[in-house]
C-alpha cells in the first residue's frame, strides 16, 4: 500500500425516490489497499460501490479518481470506467460470446489492444485461473464459480487501476466460493487496489487492510480487521457482528 490516494469520496449522498440511501460517505482508498465493506442488507454498500464508477449518479458530494473529480457534467465517464474493473454478484458474463470473446471484447473495441495482443493476454489470464481449456465454450457450459472467475479476468483484461467487487461469492454454491476467493486473494496479494463488498467475514479478515462497517447510509465504523471485528466500539457494529460471527 502507498500513500497515493486512488479514489476518494467526499460527503457522498444518494437517494432513491424519498429514501436516502447514502447520507454523506467519506472515504479514501489508497493505491494497493484492499478495503472490505461489510454491513446489514439495505445499508447502502452496493449503492456506494456503484457510485464509485458512476453506475449510480450521486446526488451530492464528490467522487475523485486519480485526482480528478469525475461526477460532473462533461466528464468522459467511459474513460474512467476503463480503469475501474467491476465484478457483480450475478457475474453478468456475456452469454452470446465465448469465454475468449468475453475477455477480448472491451480491450479490442476500446482500442487498448490489437486483436492478437488481446487474445494472447486473454489466454494467459485464463491460464492463471485454470480455465484455458474452456476458452471456446459459451458461458452456459460453465459453473457459477467458473463464470465468476471469467467475470474477474474480463475486468482485468482492461488492466484497471482498481477492482470493485460487489458480493462476488453471494450467488455461488458453497463449494464454489473458495475458488473465486482464491482468485481475489491472489489479486490483492499482487497489489491490486480493491474494494470488496462481502458477507464472508473470514475472507475480509484475511485479505483486507481495512474493513468498513456500513449501515443506514453511513460508514459507522472502520479499522484494521482485528480491531473492527474483535473490538468494535459502536453498538451498531457490535450488534451486527454478534449476529454474523
Amino acid at each position: 500500500m502507498t500513500d497515493t490516494v486512488l479514489i476518494e469520496t467526499r460527503n457522498l449522498t444518494k437517494s432513491f425516490g424519498g429514501l436516502q440511501v447514502l447520507k454523506g460517505v467519506d472515504l479514501q482508498v489508497h493505491q494497493g489497499e484492499a478495503i472490505a465493506i461489510i454491513g446489514p442488507s439495505g445499508g447502502g454498500k452496493s449503492t456506494f460501490l456503484r457510485c464509485l464508477n458512476l453506475l449510480e449518479t450521486p446526488d451530492g458530494g464528490d467522487v475523485i479518481f486519480e485526482g480528478q473529480k469525475i461526477n460532473q457534467k462533461g466528464t468522459d465517464v467511459d474513460q474512467y470506467r476503463q480503469k475501474m474493473g467491476m465484478v457483480f454478484q450475478h457475474f453478468n458474463v456475456f452469454p452470446h460470446m465465448t469465454v475468449l470473446q468475453n475477455i477480448t471484447l472491451a480491450p479490442v473495441l476500446l482500442k487498448k489492444k490489437t486483436p492478437a495482443e488481446a487474445e494472447a493476454q486473454a489466454l494467459s489470464l485464463l491460464e492463471r485461473i485454470g480455465l484455458l481449456d474452456k476458452k471456446d465454450e459459451y458461458p452456459r457450459k460453465l459453473s457459477g464459480g467458473q463464470k465468476q472467475r471469467l467475470a474477474i479476468v474480463r475486468a482485468l483484461a482492461m488492466e484497471p487501476d482498481v477492482m470493485l467487487f460487489d458480493e462476488p461469492t453471494s450467488a455461488l454454491d458453497p463449494e464454489m466460493v473458495g475458488e473465486v476467493l482464491s482468485v481475489i486473494r491472489a489479486l490483492v496479494k499482487a497489489g491490486m487496489t480493491s474494494v470488496i463488498v462481502t458477507h464472508e467475514m473470514g475472507f475480509a479478515r484475511e485479505v483486507a487492510d481495512r474493513i468498513l462497517f456500513m449501515a443506514d447510509g453511513v460508514i459507522v465504523e472502520q479499522g484494521v480487521p482485528a480491531e473492527l471485528l474483535d473490538r468494535p466500539r459502536q453498538p451498531r457494529t457490535q450488534e451486527f457482528l454478534s449476529k454474523v460471527l
Binding site: N53, D78, R81, V93, P95, L105, A106, L109, R140, M158
Partner: protein, 227 residues
C-alpha cells in the same frame, strides 16, 4: 346442399380456378405480408429507438402514434391509406396495392416497435451494467451486447407477427388487391358458389398460418437451446 354436392363443387372450382387461389391469391398474400413485416420491422426499429430516446418530445410523439394505431381499426387505416397515399405523392401514380401496403406497413410498425422495445428490455440490466463498467459507451453496449441478445427475443415475435399479418391482409381484399381473399371474391362472382369458395380460402389460410407458426415455434426452440 349436401356434403357431397359441396365436395363436388369444391373439386370443380379447384380444377377450373386453382391458379386464381394458389398462384395469384397465395402469392399476393405472402408478398403483402412479407413486405409489411420487412418494412414494418425497419420502421418499427426506428420507432423503438425513438421511444427509448432521452428526448421527451420524441418519446411522446411515438407513444401517441402507437396508441392511435392500436386504438383504431385496421380497416379504417387501410381506407385512409387508400385515399391519402395517392394524394400525397400524385406524381408517382401509386396504385392501390402500394397504397394498401403502405398502410399495412405503418400499422405493423406500431406493433413491431413494441415487440422490439420489449425484446430489448427483456435483456438483463446486468448485461448493460457489465458492459458500461468495462468502459463501453452506450451505442457500443447496444450493438455488441444488448442487440445480439435481444434479437433472440425479437425474431420469433416477428415470425408470429408475420403469421398475424397473413390473416390481417384479408382486409385488403376490400380494395381488390389480389390477395387470397380477393380470389374468393373473384371466384364467387363467377361461380356463385360462395360457401365452397370460402372453404377453399379458409383451408389455404389455415395451412399457411399453421405451417408458418410451427416453423417459428421450432426456430424459437432452437434459439432457446443455444442460451
Amino acid at each position: 346442399m349436401t356434403f357431397t354436392t359441396v365436395f363436388q363443387n369444391i373439386i370443380k372450382i379447384l380444377t377450373k380456378y386453382w391458379d386464381v387461389f394458389l398462384i395469384k391469391g397465395v402469392s399476393v398474400t405472402l408478398a403483402l405480408a412479407a413486405i409489411t413485416v420487412f418494412f414494418g420491422a425497419i420502421l418499427g426499429a426506428l420507432l423503438a429507438i425513438m421511444k427509448m430516446s432521452r428526448l421527451g418530445i420524441l418519446r411522446a410523439v411515438v407513444t401517441a402514434f402507437v396508441e392511435v394505431i392500436r386504438g383504431t381499426p385496421l380497416l379504417l387505416q387501410l381506407y385512409i391509406g387508400y385515399f391519402i397515399v395517392p394524394l400525397m405523392v400524385p406524381a408517382l401514380e401509386i396504385g392501390t396495392f402500394a397504397s394498401i401496403a403502405v398502410a399495412l406497413v405503418i400499422n405493423s410498425a406500431a406493433y413491431v416497435s413494441e415487440v422490439i422495445r420489449s425484446g430489448i428490455q427483456a435483456v438483463d440490466i446486468g448485461q448493460t451494467e457489465a458492459a458500461r463498467s468495462l468502459g463501453l459507451n452506450k451505442s457500443q453496449t447496444m450493438t455488441k451486447v444488448i442487440l445480439p441478445q435481444a434479437i433472440k427475443n425479437i425474431l420469433p415475435a416477428l415470425g408470429n407477427e408475420f403469421v398475424t399479418i397473413i390473416k390481417e391482409t384479408s382486409l385488403a381484399s376490400t380494395f381488390f388487391v389480389g390477395d387470397l381473399m380477393t380470389s374468393y371474391l373473384v371466384v364467387k362472382g363467377q361461380t356463385y358458389l360462395a360457401f365452397e369458395s370460402l372453404i377453399i380460402v379458409g383451408v389455404l389460410y389455415f395451412v399457411l398460418t399453421f405451417v408458418l407458426s410451427k416453423l417459428v415455434g421450432a426456430y424459437e426452440r432452437r434459439l432457446k437451446q443455444s442460451d
